[in-house]
Amino acid sequence: MHLHKFEKIWLVFGMASLALFLLITGFAAFWKGTHPQSHIETIDPQNVEAHEAFKPENLGLQEVADGKYTVNIVASAFNYDFGTDADGKAVKRIRVPKGSTVLFQITTKDVVHGFQVAGTNVNMMVEPGHVSRLETVMKNTGEFTVVCNEYCGVGHHQMFAVVEVYE
């Protein structure tokens, strides 16, 4: 089979790009541990409180070790439940120091929701019956808005919170 010289060049270019992309994807998956956020861990959406992480007293931000945090959230139409503060008010703002490792654990009681900390790599789909987890290092300071990015109903736009990363 005869191939034009240029054809050979762009075929090699295309295949090399594909190989490179696959290598980087493989590196991210097997070396850096990037995996789907829902690890096929199931939960009863009617009774999320039965799960240790989603007991009302365990919701919200917890420091589990030096510089390591866990944030447990229950999403429902149309609210993110981060637990309550000392005054009994619903928490809508969490603060973590820069460089801390934060594990977000979230589930939903009703429909599919999204959980995106806009401006960071935290972006998960939250499906009823599943627990979504994502661990990240908060590299940059700032105020990041948490938004629901899966349309969940008329109050979709009311689902928000703030993650503040301070120096």
Partner: protein
């Protein structure tokens, strides 16, 4: 019929004579664009 085919073959330029320069440039521009997008998104992922 056979004659007609012969005539057509004669008027078609040989492969080596076809200029693929324009195609080559377009393919490479598209390739570079895709690479730039890919690495741009990856850099964004790493920086956040």
């Amino acid at each position: 019929m056979a004659n007609k085919n012969k005539k057509q073959n004669q008027t078609t330029p040989k492969e080596s004579e076809i200029s693929l320069k324009g195609t080559f440039i377009s393919v490479m521009l598209l390739g570079v664009f895709i690479l730039a997008l890919w690495f741009g998104s990856y850099a964004l992922f790493l920086s956040r």
